[in-house]
Structure formats: C-alpha cells, structure tokens
C-alpha cells in the first residue's frame, strides 16, 4: 500500500465564535484521488481551507509527508507541497492569463513544465495576454488547476472544480483530473456532483455537521448507493 501522504486527525476549526469542524479524521495516500462528499454546510470547503491554514483558528493534527503542519502559516504549508484551488477559482483580475499561470512560485522539482501545460491546456496559450477574468468559467477553472501543476506541489486540494460549468466542460475537467493522477499527483476533491466524483475517485469520505461520518471505497459504491442518497439527500 502506498505511503499516507496526508493524515488529518481531530481537526477542529472556528470562524470567529462559531465552531464549524468538530474533530475531522481522514487520510489520503500518495497517488490517490479522494473526495469529500456531503450536503451544503457540512464543512467540506472548511476542511480544505483548514488544511491550508486559511481559517483563523484551528486545532488538531494535519500531518503531510511526515511533517506536522497544524501550527504552520499558509505560505509554509504551500512550501511543504500542498496546493489549493479555491471554489471561486481565485483568478486574479489585474493579472493576464500568463501572469496568473506563472504566479505561484516553484517550490520543488517535479512540477509540469510550461510546454506540457500548454499541450494539456491549449486555450491558455491562445489567450495568454487576455485579462484572467475575461476567460470563460471553464477556462478559468483550467487555469486555476494548471497553475498549481507547475509548482511541484504533490497534493492538490480542489474545491468544487465543476461548480456552475456545462456538462461538456465538466467532462473535460474530469479527463484532466484523471490525467493529473496518471502523472503522479494526489488529489483531495470536494464535490457536490456525486456522479462526477464517482467516475474519478478511489475513496469517498462523507461529511456531516463538521465530522466525517462514513468512508466508502469506490469499488463498494454501487452497494452503498442507497446509504449515500440518504446522506446527501439527493
């Protein structure tokens, strides 16, 4: 079995006074795609942000590649090899496409080179000097993922990459995530779109009220469908 790349234990998080994560436990092994499923407000996005250190107050344990990061600053966590693609995609308005793409500094060897990125995402080359936010939603999502493939980060946290996108674009994003996995990246994916998640992931964790309440291997997904429908209310 491959090494455990990320091990989250007893993760708690607070926004001001409100306590939103209540002891989240899960792990991600190197090379896996793992999804966090759950209803709106279950704490999925907050879990990603907490791992990244972007929530003002957190406690528990986040061990990445053998290194405890619970007290680290976001830039230290980024330098350790975790990269975050936020739900709003985080494309910078005052930067053009190339500037957006080249913004995250390379933190370790092993990232994709520019040539490969342009092969995978030809649109980004065609629209190199467009303002970042002038791209379509799908292109912005591609850009947001492409820019963290360059840096040498091994674990990618993707927050709802398919949200608000047309089905044909969702398929493209899916193909892209499979390609990323093939190239040795590890992905922790937050998804509302369960059917999409099912085509990609190795394992699923189900969240509710700021906790992990179940773990389902993708091979057992079929038999767990009834249970999942109850969890997700779909």
């Amino acid at each position: 079995m491959p090494e455990t790349l990320l091990n989250v234990k007893g993760l708690n998080a607070w926004y001001d006074e409100s306590h939103v994560l209540h002891g989240v436990d899960f792990n991600v092994r190197a090379g896996e795609i793992v999804t966090l499923l759950g209803r709106n407000g279950a704490g999925k996005s907050t879990t990603l942000k907490s791992i990244m250190g972007l929530i003002p107050r957190r406690a528990g344990s986040v061990v990445y590649s053998g290194k405890e990061l619970i007290n680290a600053r976001p830039d230290q966590i980024g330098n350790a090899g975790i990269a975050f693609c936020p739900e709003d995609r985080g494309i910078f308005r005052s930067l053009n496409v190339t500037e957006n793409l080249m913004l995250p500094p390379v933190i370790a060897p092993g990232g994709l080179d520019l040539q490969t990125i342009y092969t995978l995402f030809p649109n980004l080359k065609e629209r190199a000097s467009s303002q970042g936010t002038m791209l379509s939603g799908g292109e912005q999502q591609m850009l947001a993922i492409a820019r963290i493939l360059r840096t040498g980060a091994r674990l990618l946290l993707l927050d709802e990459p398919t949200e608000g996108l047309a089905p044909v674009i969702v398929q493209q994003i899916g193909a892209m995530i499979r390609e990323i996995k093939k190239r040795g990246f590890t992905v922790l994916l937050v998804e509302q779109n369960f059917t999409f998640a099912a085509t990609l992931a190795d394992r699923h964790y189900v969240m509710e009220h700021g906790r992990i309440i179940d773990e389902i291997g993708n091979e057992n997904l079929h038999s767990a469908t009834g249970k999942l429908h109850a969890y997700l209310g779909v």
Partner: protein, 295 residues
C-alpha cells in the same frame, strides 16, 4: 519682446519649468502613496515625514560625515526604508484588518510625532544644502536658461517613476504584489511570504519618499515642516489621479504641477487653489479619479 497673452515668453517658460520641477516632486511622492495605498490599503499620512527625513539624512550625512549628495541619494532612502520597515512591523501592521480611516489617523499621528521630534532637534529654521558641484550652473537652451539641477530633478524623478511602474506592472514580483492586493490569503497559500512582501512594499514606498527628500534638499531648504507643506497638495493629486493608480498619480502630478505654475503667472491669487478646484471638478464627474478603477 515676444509675449503670450501679455506675458513675456521667458517668464512663461520659467514658470512652466518651475511647475515641471514641482510636478516631478509631486510625482515621486504621489507614486509612493499610490503604491502603499494600492498594496496595503493604508492612506499613508506619514509620507511627508518620511520625505522630510530623507532630506535630513542627506543633510546630516554631509554635516557629520562629509558624505556628499550622490551617496546620500543611495543611503538616505535605505535609512528611511529601514525606519519605514520598523514602523510597518511594529505599528502599521495592526491596521490592515480595520477600516482605512484608522490607518489614516494612525499615520497622521506618526507624522506629527516625527515632525515634532525633528522640530525639537533642529528648530524650524531652514538648513541649507548645496547643489553638488557637478550639477551647478545652467545651460542656454536658446529660448531660456535651464538650471542643470532642475533638469536633473525632472529626469531623475521620471526615471524612478518609470522604473517603479515597470516593476509593478511588468515583472513577476509586481504580479505577486498585484495579486496579493486581490487575495492575500490565496497568494500566501502558494508559498509566498505575503507579510514580508507587504513590509518590503511599505519600506519601498518610504524609500521613494526619502529619495524625493534628497532631491528636494538643494531646491527647498531642509526643515521639519517641508513635508507637511507638500502633503496636502500631493493628497489632492492622488485623489485626482485615482487612489492606488500609479500611472494616474504620475500623469496628474506633472499636469497639475504645470497648471499650478501657469496659474501663478496669469492669476497668482488662485495658484494655491487651482489643484483643489480641479480636485472638486474631477470628484464631481468621476469620483474614483481620472485613472481610478472605481472600487
């Protein structure tokens, strides 16, 4: 004698040049303000004090260590940048999460304290600073005599403005700065030490003010109030150019410096007012300033 609207041409040229020199100082100062406001969201009222400190460092270097103008152009901005870095680290940093008005009040208080200390130490009298030997004299342009030092001020100021614009708009460091103004958290998650970048930005803005101070030392006399007199006008210019817009600040500075110079000639009573009249008109028609992005 050749005249324009009853004004001798030589006098007109002289006033335009004076306006251009003033405009160059406005540009350097408003540039620093624009960079600091754009990146930190702080309306830096201490800017005039930093400018004054730059002039004083040049003066003190010459008086005490016989270190001349050219070294002062390098050492004074470095010294003031260090002071600015300390100020950001110890005091100003606490203002980022609260409304802009708190940063304004805080830096205003800092300016008063710094000016007070210099007034205590050096009184109010202007201290002389000689023009360096290499830049003394003037050249005959045919239609007027151009003091070499004034020409140097304009060239140096524009060169520094262009360099600053280039760094921010055309380099990867500048892209990080611009991105951090939109989402500091996301840029930091990419592994960039954003707090340190902000510290260096403030220090850089302070260095720009000090550089202007050294340039100004031989033109205006060195005294504790020299920044205060300038700053109100410079703030009006920044508002006209558009808060946080580098290009807007520089263009508005040059234009308004010359407008001020011309007003002195045609209607001297209004020369202190003209910039503020322009400000009112601009704010009424385009509240975010001529080059402002309107957010």
């Amino acid at each position: 004698m050749f005249t324009v609207f009853g004004i001798p041409l030589q006098l007109l040229n002289g006033q335009l040049l004076l306006g251009l020199v003033n405009g160059a100082f406005y540009a350097l100062l408003s540039l620093g303000l624009a960079v600091i406001f754009g990146m930190l969201g702080i309306i830096n009222f201490a800017h005039g004090a930093l400018y004054m400190m730059g002039a004083f460092v040049a003066y003190l270097l010459l008086e005490n260590f016989n270190i001349g103008y050219w070294w002062a152009l390098l050492l004074a901005p470095l010294t003031v940048a260090l002071f600015g870095a300390l100020m950001e680290r110890l005091i100003i940093r606490r203002m980022y999460k609260v409304d802009h008005v708190y940063g304004l009040l805080l830096t205003f208080a800092l300016a008063m304290i710094i000016q007070g200390v210099f007034r205590l130490l050096f009184n109010n009298a202007g201290l002389p600073y000689r023009i360096p030997a290499e830049l003394q004299g003037s050249i005959n342009l045919g239609f007027m005599f151009m003091p070499i030092y004034r020409a140097w001020v304009v060239v140096a100021a524009l060169a520094v403005c262009f360099t600053t614009w280039f760094v921010i708009e055309r380099t990867s460091l500048g892209a990080r700065l611009r991105a951090a103004t939109e989402s500091a958290a996301l840029v930091q998650s990419f592994g960039v030490n954003v707090p340190r970048m902000i510290l260096l930005t403030y220090a850089g803005g302070a260095a720009l003010a000090a550089f202007a101070g050294v340039l100004a030392a031989p033109v205006y006399s060195v005294n504790a109030n020299m920044g205060e007199n300038f700053m109100i006008t410079v703030f009006a210019i920044v508002v006209i150019g558009g808060m946080g817009s580098i290009l807007g600040s520089v263009v508005a500075s040059i234009f308004l410096g010359m407008a001020e110079g011309l007003t002195k000639l045609f209607y001297p009573e209004a020369s202190a007012l003209v910039i503020f009249v322009v400000m009112i008109i601009v704010l009424m028609t385009k509240p975010s300033g001529l080059f402002g992005k309107g957010h």
